[in-house]
């Protein structure tokens, strides 16, 4: 065998291994895509048949939920849709200002050890299991709400406070990245024009980081809408339309988990349909994030 042939063989073998590795990696990528496809397919396949019995309008816009009633079953989830959004937006009202302030502090004000400690604490916050948040909610937050605001303590406000804490890591991390991504020249220019540091932050840096910050908020909404366990433990779980901050509330996710174990027939289907509604909301939110970040990339160019 000549030297040249041996060399060619080695090149061929290398190409073969290279392409084999590519194929394995591709297979893994396909698995995650397939997972999404299958989840979507089966949730819709199990959920959609409900509309043969209940109209879409009734399902989405009726507040009458009594699926186990034999004579006159009710499948209206409006209360839970409203509940989900009510809880989520109050949580944003509490969590976004705090999270944004924390992100500004991390990106612009502090450095060194303080920043390190703060960052690892935020990471820890993201890693705490939601059932632990729920325990904390029952012991501390419901009690606090009951003492300071009255009512039972199992209400929209308690759930929102828990969710506000839970979405902090999402908002802090992504907003900090967005703020750091603002070109240094902007800040330098602003300072050179005689603006104070806070003026530069509020008038120049934040507007420039706007789309990144909005994306972080939308992802926070996604986290809050999808959260189940923590809110289940403090929201009261009554299947009624929430009437105020101190009213008991049931969200879409709570509705699924409460009935999942024993439901059968149309009742079970209606839980899948609730899942479809939740799924569609989360998909819309993801599209929104994509649209916002795309816009940002375009405007940066």
């Amino acid at each position: 065998m000549s030297n040249r042939e041996g060399c060619l063989l080695r090149i061929k073998a290398r190409r073969f291994y290279e392409s084999a590795v590519h194929k394995v990696l591709f297979l893994c990528a396909v698995i995650s895509i397939l997972a999404v496809v299958f989840i979507t397919f089966f949730i819709f396949q199990r959920g959609l048949p409900l509309f043969q019995k209940v109209s879409l309008w009734e399902f989405l816009f009726s507040t009458y939920w009594l699926p186990t009633d034999e004579a006159n079953p009710g499948f209206g989830i409006l209360s839970f849709i409203v509940g989900s959004f009510y809880v989520t937006f109050v949580a944003l009202g509490i969590g976004v200002p705090i999270g944004l302030a924390c992100a500004i502090f991390l990106a612009e004000i502090t450095e060194g050890r303080m920043a390190k400690v703060l960052r690892s604490v935020v990471e820890l916050l993201a890693g705490i299991p939601s059932v632990i948040y729920g325990f904390f909610g029952i012991v501390v937050i419901s009690k606090g709400v009951r003492v300071f605001f009255g009512g039972t303590g199992y209400c929209v406000l308690s759930a929102s406070i828990i969710l506000a804490i839970m979405i902090l890591p999402t908002i802090i991390n992504l907003s900090e990245v967005a703020i750091r991504a603002v070109p240094k020249d902007y800040k330098a220019g602003s300072l050179a024009l005689g603006a104070t540091h806070w003026q530069s932050i509020s008038k120049v840096i934040l507007p420039a980081a706007k789309s990144g910050i909005i994306a972080s908020i939308v992802l926070g909404i996604g986290r809050a809408v999808g959260e189940t366990m923590a809110v289940l433990m403090v929201a009261g779980n009554a299947p009624i339309m929430p009437t105020g901050l101190l009213s008991k509330v049931r969200t879409l996710t709570m509705n699924i988990i409460t009935d999942m174990g024993y439901a059968s027939g149309d009742h079970m289907t209606s839980l899948f349909t609730t899942g479809v509604v939740l799924f569609v909301f989360i998909m819309l939110l993801n599209f929104l994030v994509n649209a916002i970040t795309k816009k940002q990339i375009k405007s940066e160019r």
Partner: protein, 289 residues
Amino acid sequence: MKKSFYVLPIALLSLLVAAGAVFAGSKEVEGDGKFAGDYAMGGSTTVEPIVVSAIEAFAKKYPAAKISYDAQGSSVGVTGVVDGVYVLGGSSRELKDKEIDAGVVPTAIALDGIAVVVNDNVPIDNLSLEQVARIFAGEIRNWKEVSGPDREIVVVNRDEASGTRAAFSELVLEKNFGKGKAKFIADAITTESNGDMVTKVGQTPDTIGYCGFGYIDKAKNIGGKTISVDGSDPTVANVLTKEYPVSRYLYVVSKGQIEPGSLNEAFVSFLLSDEGQQIVEETGYIAIK
């Protein structure tokens, strides 16, 4: 460099093989004891203390049988038995016609009362059955209507999977309003288990709820108390004389008749033995033999 090309596929392959071995292994039976294997039971949270204690005692006789009990509510137990998820289910309510048609067979293992519990801050010791029914139906919304203080009543209810809820509905609400006319107030804190129920009643002022007798001690430990109904205290003695109005049987349910020689038969006959019935009493319920 070349070596690393092998590493990924080989690692993946060995993982697959290992996983296969593990899954295959779990099917195999360990030891040679009677009833060797894994058995899943589940259902009523009221029945849970009895079955869990019974499983511990049963394990001493048949160490090879590994039994678990998953307390998620009676309806979960019955559905689980129909679907074959559980070999036996626990139920704290009567079976529905639909479930009997599906082949579910109940075996009574104990008698239990349902105690009405209130938070310690409610200065009331007795309510009539009618008052209790009207409170849970939402007709009475303030404690002053039952000669208490002028504060709103906070109703704590169970989720719909609960057999205690079904039994309470039948024994209290339907008895007062008539069959099919009983509806719980929707504006109530909904809880997932007897434990969750007594915790929330104990920790929230102005609440009223209900629980199986086995949870009375826990309720008292965390800030709740029981009240008498129609002047009768929730005690075993009062249930036996039928003086206490709210009592029901507790069941284990199986799909089809229990087969002779099966683990189900051994376990159920253990529950009904002197030893099993003693466990029933130790856990706060009422023996039926």
